[in-house]
């Protein structure tokens, strides 16, 4: 069955207030191209970053987190050039980042660890203690704030990781697989937290769990082989699934939309390859 054509994958429709603007972003890991001349603009709200394994989601998140430098292209975050040293420091003060592999110091308590990250983020000292308590409370760890990190369960460690990401009330929050290790109830609460912080900040959630995107994200960017395969609202992705799998229940519609968008992008990419001059006899 041939999937219907997905929405145009330009990724260039600028939101009302742009906080992330990526132009021609290329990231190479030795000979592999992780991101291929990617263009993307994002504004406040919760953005889901979907894609199969190895599509380039983590590479994109790492560039947006100013952890990795692009091989080519321009990255503008919060109105500043991420390539300039001084501006990068300013961006980092307004950034929250939860890496996919979240490391912590087991000897620290939750409060100490989050306060440590607040210091790393150069938060004003007089605001930090209250900000730490607020962040820990928001992730539901208030009753464990003085517990050692090593005593926390995997889900709690993840929540502590989210607390350190939001401690500075960042305007750009980058979460790489944030729901890994959370149980279903915590996941529901986490999605509510995402919607809350997304009301004022730009939240980018990289995940392979389509249901997280359906429940918490207003917009979706689907990445495949380092390129944007789909860009639109969650509703548009769901609608794409409803068209392609009208007979299925609506619960799976976004998954079908994900699949349809992916196949459509692959088909389009294949067509471009087939018609390229070098392949013409």
């Amino acid at each position: 069955m041939t999937p219907p054509n997905p929405a145009p994958a330009t990724g260039t429709a600028a939101p009302a207030r742009t906080t992330v603007s990526v132009t021609g972003l290329t990231v190479r890991h030795r000979r592999t191209v992780a991101l291929d001349a990617l263009d993307l603009t994002l504004g406040p709200g919760v953005h889901g970053l979907l894609g199969p394994n190895g599509a380039g989601k983590t590479s994109l998140i790492r560039v947006l987190a100013t952890v990795a430098a692009p091989s080519r292209g321009r990255v503008e975050l919060l109105g500043r050039d991420a390539g300039a040293h001084r501006e990068r420091s300013e961006i980092r003060r307004r950034l929250g980042y939860l890496p996919q592999e979240f490391g912590y110091y087991p000897g620290f308590t939750v409060r100490e660890f989050v306060a440590y990250v607040a210091w790393l983020k150069e938060m004003p000292a007089e605001l930090a203690p209250a900000a730490v308590e607020r962040a820990v409370e928001r992730v539901g760890l208030a009753d464990r704030i003085d517990a050692g990190m090593k005593t926390l369960s995997g889900g709690m460690v993840r929540r502590a990781g989210i607390a350190q990401a939001i401690v500075n009330e960042p305007e750009l929050i980058l979460l790489d697989e944030p729901t890994a290790g959370l149980d279903p109830e915590q996941r529901v609460e986490f999605r509510a937290l995402l919607r809350e912080v997304g009301a004022t900040a730009t939240v980018v959630v990289s995940t392979h769990l389509v249901e997280d995107v359906a429940a918490a994200c207003s917009e979706v960017t689907l990445i495949e082989s380092g390129r944007v395969a789909f860009r639109g609202t969650t509703g548009e992705l769901t609608a794409l699934g409803e068209v392609s799998h009208a007979a299925d229940g609506s619960a799976n519609a976004i998954e079908h939309g994900y699949t349809a968008a992916l196949r459509g992008h692959r088909a389009a990419a294949s067509a471009v390859t087939d018609s390229s001059p070098k392949d013409t006899p």
């Binding site: 790492r62 987190a65 100013t66 952890v67 420091s89 300013e90 980092r92 003060r93 307004r94 950034l95 980042y97 890496p99 592999e101 979240f102 490391g103 912590y104 110091y105 087991p106 000897g107 620290f108 100490e112 306060a115 440590y116 990250v117 210091w119 790393l120 983020k121 150069e122 938060m123 004003p124 000292a125 007089e126 605001l127 900000a131 607020r134 409370e137 928001r138 992730v139 539901g140 929540r159 350190q164 500075n168 009330e169 915590q186 609460e189 986490f190 509510a192 937290l193 919607r195 809350e196 912080v197 009301a199 004022t200």
Partner: protein
């Protein structure tokens, strides 16, 4: 997770510039958590156990306790500080926090300074605590001088520097066995530097010094601290400072090199010079007179009492010494050097006067003979007579040494059986003889 509405951003969002920083609370956290306190504890226990094992040998003089602490700190705590710092340096790699750290605005220099703090401060604290205990334990039994606190401070700086260098190695070398290997290499390096004959040994933190009546030149401790601290700071800046500030590392490096120059120019005895007040002789009224340096003034009555039986035999004899002395410089004519009584003293008392007397007799008759002097047909007999005379004057304690052979024992029995005047006559002849020439040694 709660979903209560966030407070108004105007109230919650901190002002962006300039960022004010207060590192005291995170510094406290860094110092309290992790391996830092364990490192400090390990250093403290290592030094305390070492000092306990060597007590009471260091407990009577400030110089002895300082020197013993110096060697324990340099040779044992130094490698420990290196290894602990190395492990601390690899913490972020082991814990997987590098990714998060790369996304924060706080500069690498300040982050590194904070992370280094436990590796630098805890070993230093681990030295200062047992040092305070040992100094307090010494205080009641010293007769003079002063504790060389500036040397202990320089040792603490050296330990902090070693911890810092270990931390930097841990940051740069991602290998599991780096820390233990660094400890072994550090121990060998510090030991070799301590026992080399060149003046470069005084740059190492474990060089030993023996003379209790000496004091270090005033500039040695601060210069040592600049040397070790400067090297560590230069390495830290070279690693952690931003590219444009990296040249700043040359400043502490230049200071360290400048500090090394006067140390390398020190004479063989290093930075130690006799302290006239400490080395001043304090003598009893006996004959032969017993003289000790003023730092051992408290031991003088015990030493006089221990030597009394021997002095009674020597008194008035031609060839007998006029003074027993201990102090800087070679004994003058008529003087005989005394064994160091602090080696046999326990908390200000000469615990084994019999052993001390025995040592004194050995020193009285010790002579530097030329090669071939002790040869010839009578050499064996002369050797037996030497042993017998020493045993007669100061019997070897039963739990010490080996029993005399039958020939020597016969001489002892002969000497003991003589009337007092004959004994004095023999001893005068023995003292007058050249003991390096076996034919001249009188037979009892």
């Amino acid at each position: 997770m709660t979903t209560s509405p966030a407070p108004a951003r105007a109230a919650a969002v901190p002002p962006r510039t300039p960022p004010r920083t207060r590192t005291s609370s995170v510094l406290r956290t860094e110092l309290r958590r992790g391996a830092g306190p364990w490192t400090g504890g390990a250093v403290a226990v290592t030094i305390l156990v070492t000092m306990y094992g060597k007590a009471p040998g260091w407990q009577g003089r400030w110089a002895d306790v300082t020197d013993m602490l110096h060697v324990a700190a340099g040779l044992l705590a130094g490698p420990l500080a290196l290894a602990a710092g190395c492990r601390q340096g690899g913490r972020d790699r082991r814990r997987g926090t590098l990714e998060l750290l790369r996304s924060v605005p706080r500069g690498r220099l300040r982050r590194t300074l904070l992370a280094v703090a436990p590796a630098a401060l805890w070993p230093a604290a681990g030295l200062l605590l047992p040092a305070a205990v040992c100094l307090l334990a010494t205080w009641p039994y010293v007769s003079g001088g002063r504790p060389y606190l500036e040397l202990l401070a320089a040792d603490a700086v050296a330990l902090a520097a070693l911890g810092t260098l270990g931390h930097l190695v841990g940051l740069l070398v991602p290998w599991r066995l780096t820390a233990p290997l660094l400890a072994v290499v550090g121990y060998v390096g510090l030991a070799l530097s301590a026992y080399t004959r060149s003046s470069a040994r005084w740059l190492g933190p474990a060089a030993e010094h023996h003379f209790a009546w000496d004091e270090p030149v005033w500039w040695f401790a601060p210069v040592s601290a600049v040397w070790s601290g400067g090297l560590a700071l230069a390495a830290l800046l070279a690693y952690a400072a931003r590219a444009r500030l990296r040249l700043l590392a040359l400043l502490p490096l230049a200071a360290a090199i400048a500090a090394a120059v006067p140390v390398l120019r020190l004479p063989d005895e290093g930075p130690w010079r006799p302290d006239p007040e400490v080395a001043r002789l304090v003598c009893d009224g006996g004959a032969p007179q017993v003289c000790l340096p003023s730092i051992d003034r408290a031991l003088l009555p015990d030493v006089s009492k221990a030597l009394a039986p021997l002095n009674a035999r020597l008194r008035g004899l031609p060839g007998a010494p006029t003074r027993w002395v201990l102090g800087p410089g070679a004994p003058r004519p008529g003087e005989v050097e005394l064994p160091d009584p602090s080696q046999d003293a326990v908390r200000g008392r000469l615990e084994r006067p019999d052993l001390y007397l025995n040592s004194a007799v050995q020193w009285l008759f010790s002579d530097t003979c030329r090669e071939g002097d002790l040869g010839g047909p009578n050499a064996e007999r002369a050797s037996e007579i030497h042993l017998a005379v020493a045993e007669w004057l100061a019997p070897t304690p039963e739990d010490y040494g080996v029993p005399l052979g039958p020939a020597a024992q016969r001489y002892v029995d002969t000497l003991r059986a003589k009337p007092p005047t004959a004994q004095r006559d023999y001893l005068a002849r023995y003292l007058a003889a050249d003991t390096c020439r076996p034919d001249e040694v009188p037979i009892p």
